[in-house]
């Protein structure tokens, strides 16, 4: 087991990434993600890391693409406005099948917005954001421990499927401090057979993202779609609590699911049969979690105006049994507020 420390979310992720053999970090300062570039910059000399403060997020994302193309581990971290700039490169890295890791520390948009916690980037992260038919794996941690655990997991998934992976945290998880067990050190992957690292001892490799006629480009796209289906089949992750006997199941993700958990416990103490589903992969959305849940109501709550709720409605049999409650602008409901909302909706 690794070392146990008391650490801030962003720093725990950065330290965990370093221990996972991610030696390259390129980023642009933006609240609430800036502790990550700062942490890499500070640790660079002793760990032999390469840190560049990029001129823009556009450049940072493309630099990560360059590192990933050589088969080595690189990452960037940003927040909403920066992720918007990076979406061009997310589309590119998806087409190029580059195994990169990007953290989006969500803050309330649109535009410049605010800097506290939010879940308003759900659509952008899970439905594309950039152009064309592509998907990226999206992991949503709920604790500093899980945030740290997702650094090695993100690289493993990225390299397994040759696809970018996004870790979706938010301003709350980024700044909070908790006990965390850091992962064991790993050197990262061996030389990758597909990488563009100089054609030594093999045929040359070309990573192409340019079509060569509609037939070729359709076949290229179908290969990507087959990969996405494979990911959908094998990588849905979620956690569930007391769903079996529940009349109402709360659905919430990220650190905000802890508020939902507290509201669920309040309801149980009052004898109400309430459960919780916490999606861990936002894409692929864990539709399997909603199979075999007959005759139940679903109470979806998010720190946005209702985004994941659309995926829940697609996953359940009766979308009329799905209710939604959200707060905007960086406001976070208290457990009592959520509990009262639950009673208002279901105790008529």
């Amino acid at each position: 087991m690794g070392e146990k420390v008391f650490m801030q979310g962003n720093e725990a992720f950065a330290e965990s990434a370093i221990r996972s053999g991610c030696k390259f970090f390129f980023g642009y300062p933006i609240t609430p993600s800036s502790e990550m570039p700062e942490y890499y910059a500070k640790r660079a000399p002793e760990e032999g890391l390469t840190f560049i403060q990029a001129e823009t997020e556009v450049a940072a994302f493309n630099m990560i693409a360059g590192v990933a193309a050589t088969g080595k581990r690189g990452m960037t971290a940003t927040s909403g406005p920066g992720f918007s700039l990076g979406c061009e490169a997310m589309s590119y890295m998806s087409a190029a099948s580059l195994p990169s890791v990007v953290v989006d520390v969500m803050r309330p948009g649109p535009a410049d917005g605010e800097i506290l916690g939010s879940q308003g980037d759900y659509f952008q992260l899970t439905k594309g954001g950039g152009h064309g038919d592509y998907r990226t794996i999206v992991l949503a941690p709920y604790s500093v421990q899980e945030y740290a655990d997702f650094a090695p997991l993100a690289f493993e998934l990225a390299e397994k499927y040759l696809n970018p992976v996004v870790v979706a945290s938010d301003g709350t998880l980024a700044k909070m401090m908790e006990n965390v067990v850091l992962p064991e050190r790993s050197a990262g992957p061996e030389r990758q057979p597909w990488a563009v690292d100089g054609a030594k001892g093999r045929e040359h490799n070309d990573i192409t993202t340019c079509g060569d006629g509609p037939e070729q480009w359709e076949a290229f796209n179908l290969r990507l779609q087959a990969k996405y289906q494979n990911i959908r089949d094998n990588e849905q992750r979620w956690e569930e609590y007391q769903t079996e006997d529940a009349d109402v199941i709360i659905v919430a993700f990220g650190v905000y699911s802890r508020v939902a958990m507290a509201a669920m416990k309040m309801a149980r103490e009052k004898g109400l049969k309430v459960g919780l589903i916490r999606p861990i992969t936002l894409w692929p959305f864990p539709v399997k979690a909603f199979e075999n849940l007959e005759n139940k109501d679903f109470f979806v709550t998010e720190l946005n105006s209702g985004q994941m709720v659309e995926d829940v409605k697609l996953a359940v049999k009766d979308k009329d049994r799905v209710e939604f409650y959200g707060r905007l602008g960086g406001m976070i409901p208290t457990p009592v507020e959520l509990f009262n909302k639950l009673c208002e909706l279901y105790m008529k």
């Binding site: 390259f24 390129f26 390469t50 560049i52 990029a54 001129e55 823009t56 556009v58 450049a59 940072a60 493309n62 630099m63 990560i64 693409a65 360059g66 590192v67 990933a68 193309a69 050589t70 080595k72 690189g74 061009e88 490169a89 590119y92 190029a96 563009v196 690292d197 100089g198 054609a199 030594k200 045929e203 040359h204 490799n205 070309d206 990573i207 192409t208 993202t209 340019c210």
Partner: protein, 249 residues
């Protein structure tokens, strides 16, 4: 019988798509010869961004990656930082480098990134059909400057080799062209010097190649070469703008 001239073996058998009279084929060939003559086949990594530059991704038997329009210097930064032992070449056109990717090339130079940029300046957007570029000459007619490029609306052409030379992180900057056999030999010497400096671990090396685009210029190839020799290189004078290697000697 002895062989006095041959196609570089580092080329694939792919048919080159370039229009008649285009300069890219000559520049590709010279780079291919340099890779072969210096045994860089296992070290060369090309970054090919969008623009006619990207066609060459099928022409070389060395590692390569396509890049988005303008972003090649950022991709090349990642590749070179991760594999500093390799010969990393960002091969870019003028719409790509001077317009969409101005930020990426400037900041690569500012950071003193240790790769080579071969910048093919034909004063127009070739791939998209002959639109105005920041490098289009004053008065030049293009599909988006149909009445001729006018200062009032578009300012002046941009001289990148001089601008890049003015940045401390740049180690070497030269402008060459492909209009005569003599100038092609000078281009080869310039690109060779840039590659050698890169392999010595020097800062950004930048070779601007003024190149004809008969299709984009709406001219026959011979006329395009005449116009290049008469007009284009008076806006883009040939020469070495920075050579820190020479100063060190």
């Amino acid at each position: 019988m002895s062989i006095v001239y041959k196609r570089p073996e580092v080329f694939t058998d792919e048919y080159m798509k370039y229009c008649g009279g285009c300069g890219h084929g000559i520049i590709n060939k010279v780079i291919g010869e340099l890779i072969e003559e210096n045994n860089w086949q296992e070290k060369a990594v090309f970054v090919w961004p969008i623009g006619c530059s990207v066609y060459a991704d099928k022409y070389f038997k060395v590692d390569s990656i396509c890049a988005l329009h303008g972003r090649a210097p950022a991709v090349a930064t990642g590749v070179k930082r991760a594999t500093p032992e390799n010969l990393v070449i960002s091969y870019q056109g003028d719409g790509d480098l001077v317009s969409e990717g101005m930020s990426e090339i400037m900041h690569s130079a500012i950071r003193g990134e240790k790769f080579t940029v071969v910048f093919v300046n034909n004063a127009i957007y070739g791939m998209t059909g002959g639109q105005m570029a920041p490098t289009t000459l004053m008065g030049q007619h293009t599909t988006t400057s149909p009445y001729g490029r006018a200062e009032e609306f578009t300012g002046h052409p941009v001289n990148m080799a001089e601008i890049i030379a003015g940045i401390p992180g740049c180690y070497y900057s030269e402008r060459v062209t492909v209009n005569t056999p003599g100038n092609i030999r000078k281009m080869k010497a310039a690109i060779k010097k840039a590659f050698e400096y890169q392999m010595e671990g020097k800062g950004l090396t930048f070779v601007e190649v003024v190149s004809p685009c008969p299709t984009g210029w709406n001219m026959k190839p011979v006329k395009a070469l005449e116009w290049l020799s008469e007009s284009v290189i008076s806006t883009y004078p040939l020469g070495v703008f920075k050579d820190l290697g020479k100063e060190e000697k």
